[in-house]
C-alpha cells in the first residue's frame, strides 16, 4: 500500500511539475508566431488545459503526501511541514493569481490582439509568477531529497 501510494505520489509530481515547467517554453515560442496571434491563442488554450491537469495533480500530490506520512507513521518533521506549506501556497497562488490570467489573456488576445499593453502586462506577470512557483517546486524537491530534520 505504501509503495503503491509512493508510486502515485512520484507520478503526480512528474506530471504536475513537468507540465507546468513547459509553459514558459511553449509561450516563448508562441510569442514569436504570427502577428494575428494564432499560435499564442493555441498555446494559451493548451496551457489552460495543462494547467488544470497540473493543478489537480498538485492537489493529489498533497493528499498522497499526507497519506504517506500517516501510513509510514512519520512524525511531522520540519521538512514535511515546510514542503506541505509550500505546496499549499503554490496551489493558492496558481488558483487565485496565475490560472485566472489565462482566460483573461485569451479574451484580450481575441478582441485587441497580442500587442495590447494589458496583454503584455499580464504575460509578464504570469511569467514572473511562474518563475516563483518553479523556484518553490525546486525547494520542495530539495526538502524531499535532503529531508532536513
Amino acid at each position: 500500500m505504501y509503495l503503491a501510494l509512493k508510486f502515485l505520489h512520484v507520478f503526480l509530481a512528474i506530471v504536475a511539475v513537468g507540465f507546468t515547467s513547459s509553459f514558459g517554453l511553449i509561450l516563448a515560442r508562441a510569442a514569436k508566431g504570427g502577428a494575428d496571434g494564432r499560435e499564442l491563442k493555441f498555446a494559451l488554450e493548451t496551457i489552460r488545459v495543462m494547467g488544470r491537469i497540473g493543478h489537480v495533480c498538485f492537489l493529489f500530490l498533497l493528499i498522497t503526501g499526507i497519506a504517506l506520512v500517516h501510513i509510514a507513521g512519520y512524525p511531522w518533521y520540519l521538512w514535511l511541514k515546510l514542503s506541505g506549506a509550500l505546496v499549499v501556497v503554490a496551489l493558492l497562488v496558481a488558483q487565485f493569481l496565475l490560472l485566472p490570467t489565462v482566460p483573461r489573456r485569451l479574451a484580450i488576445l481575441e478582441t485587441k490582439g497580442p500587442t495590447d499593453p494589458e496583454f503584455i502586462a499580464l504575460s509578464k506577470r504570469s511569467a514572473a509568477l511562474g518563475a516563483v512557483l518553479g523556484l518553490m517546486a525546486l525547494v520542495v524537491l530539495w526538502l524531499m531529497v535532503s529531508k532536513p530534520a
Binding site: 509503495l3 513537468g18 494564432r38 493555441f42
Partner: protein
C-alpha cells in the same frame, strides 16, 4: 552531500524528461483540431521537437549519468534487478527515441511544410509517432515503478 546533490539532479531530470514527454500527446492532440492550413500543427510539432531536443533528451542523458554515479558512489550491487533492469530500459528508451521518435517528428515537420496537413504520409507518420510515444510512455512508467519498488 554529493549523493544528495546527485539524487536531486536525478529526480529533477526525471520530472522534466518524463513530464515533458507526457505533454507531447496533449499538445499534438489539440493541434489536430487546429486550422486546415496546419499552422497550429506546425507550431505544435516544432514546439514538441524543441522540448524534446533541448530539455527531455539532455535530461535523459543526465538521468543515466547521475544514476550510474549514485550506484558507484553508494556501492550498490549491479546485480539488483531494479538497477540493471532500469538501466537497460533507459537504453531502450534512448534508442527508440533517437532512432525512431526524433526522425519521425523531423519528417512530420518536413512533410507538413511541403505538402500540408492532409498528406497521407503525414497521417501515417502521426499514427507512428503516437504509437511510439505510447510505447515510450509505458517503458518510462516501468522505470519509475522499478525506482519506487526496488525489486532485488
Amino acid at each position: 552531500m554529493l549523493f544528495l546533490a546527485l539524487k536531486f539532479v536525478h529526480i529533477l531530470c526525471a520530472i522534466l524528461a518524463v513530464g515533458f514527454n507526457s505533454a507531447y500527446g496533449l499538445i499534438l492532440g489539440r493541434a489536430r483540431r487546429g486550422g486546415l492550413d496546419g499552422r497550429e500543427m506546425a507550431f505544435a510539432l516544432k514546439t514538441v521537437k524543441l522540448m524534446d531536443d533541448r530539455v527531455a533528451n539532455p535530461c535523459y542523458v543526465l538521468l543515466g549519468v547521475t544514476g550510474v554515479s549514485m550506484v558507484l558512489l553508494e556501492g550498490y550491487s549491479w546485480s539488483y534487478k531494479w538497477i540493471h533492469a532500469s538501466l537497460a530500459l533507459l537504453v531502450i528508451v534512448a534508442v527508440l527515441g533517437l532512432a525512431f521518435y526524433t526522425p519521425t517528428l523531423r519528417r512530420q515537420i518536413e512533410i507538413l511544410e511541403t505538402r500540408g496537413v492532409a498528406d497521407p504520409e503525414f497521417a501515417r507518420l502521426s499514427t507512428r509517432g503516437a504509437l511510439l510515444g505510447s510505447i515510450l510512455g509505458v517503458i518510462v512508467i516501468a522505470i519509475v515503478a522499478l525506482m519506487v519498488y526496488k525489486p532485488s
